[in-house]
Amino acid sequence: MYAVAQIDVDICSATSCRLCTQFCPESNTINYDIKRNTAYVAVDRCKGCEICVGICDNLAKHHAIKMVPITEIVEGYEMSKLGFHKF
């Protein structure tokens, strides 16, 4: 069992920060939904490194990202099932 990043949409959408999308080492893992104005994680691509948590907490100071056990993720976005940006 491992933990993946989860972004609080309410906190994130109140900003227009996007920093986490630039610092996640993995490509297209934190994507950005322009309509909802929020970043979101493709849970099947997240490797659980927590870099995004440090960026959001310490650089952006928004505290919008938490690590959550994969088994507790409800309706996580899965890139392998849905493809890129398809809701």
């Binding site: 630039q22 080492p25 970043a39 870099i51 890129f84």
Partner: protein, 297 residues
Amino acid sequence: MSLDTLKISPGFESYMPKEYVDLVERGPYGRDVKVSEMGTFKEIIEEHPMCAGCAMTLFIRTALIGLPAPEHTVILGTAGCGRLVLSQASIPFIYGNYGDTNGVASGLKRGLEIRFPNQTKDVVVMAGDGGLADIGFSCVMHSWFRKEKFTTVMLDNEVYGNTGGQESGMTNKGMVLKMAPFGKKFEKMDMIGLAKTAGVAYIARLAPTNPTRIANVIRKAVLIAREVGPTYVQAYTSCNIEYAIPTPKVMDDAREVEKDRYGFMEIISDEAKAYLERIEQEKKAKAKAVAASKAGA
């Protein structure tokens, strides 16, 4: 490659993997994508087996966004960690023998110029510190002395990461590693100084703390290599495994090392500077002309 070869032949759309269709429809091709747009377009890197939280992965991800024309670029690498992700990108990747990357790149660049006289093809070598400063050292230096027109990017994790922690020429003096148990006895090699001596047209050193800077540096290096001469980018890309950096601390480490000894620096020849200014002016003039024709229409 070119954009035409990337497109899906009519009738095949439903047989292609989702990731491929996304790339064709939402990829970064034919336009300048910005770092601030990351997460809104499909990147050319697919899933890959690099370690979690790897700074090298982060650097390569952003570097590929800086490529001015990914559809007309060929990347050369060799044994070492970087190839694990480079080989999963939608860019032709040549897995050179350990040691000969810059020799192969020299021949390739010259060959591409003959084969495609009307289309610029960019050649970029991206390999580790062991690959470029140790085993590939001779080919790197000679490609610089011969003024070969391609970019060399060193992914400097200051260790042989892929083979379990041997010291490289780029490891710092005194560093104790799994396979250097008594500490390295010699100083870190001054590859920047050697590049200067060899007359490399653009030299940059950076740590992966500023994504926009990474993309800009790579863009400049590739553009200058098209017209002026060899370019060299040396990037600190820590190995969190061999240096035992917990992944949540990888960016703290990058910032500390940057502050201590890996600060951003650029050395650019007068000719290269003039060339960059020229293309900037041409771009502005073109944008002005487009705006004027739109206003007139």
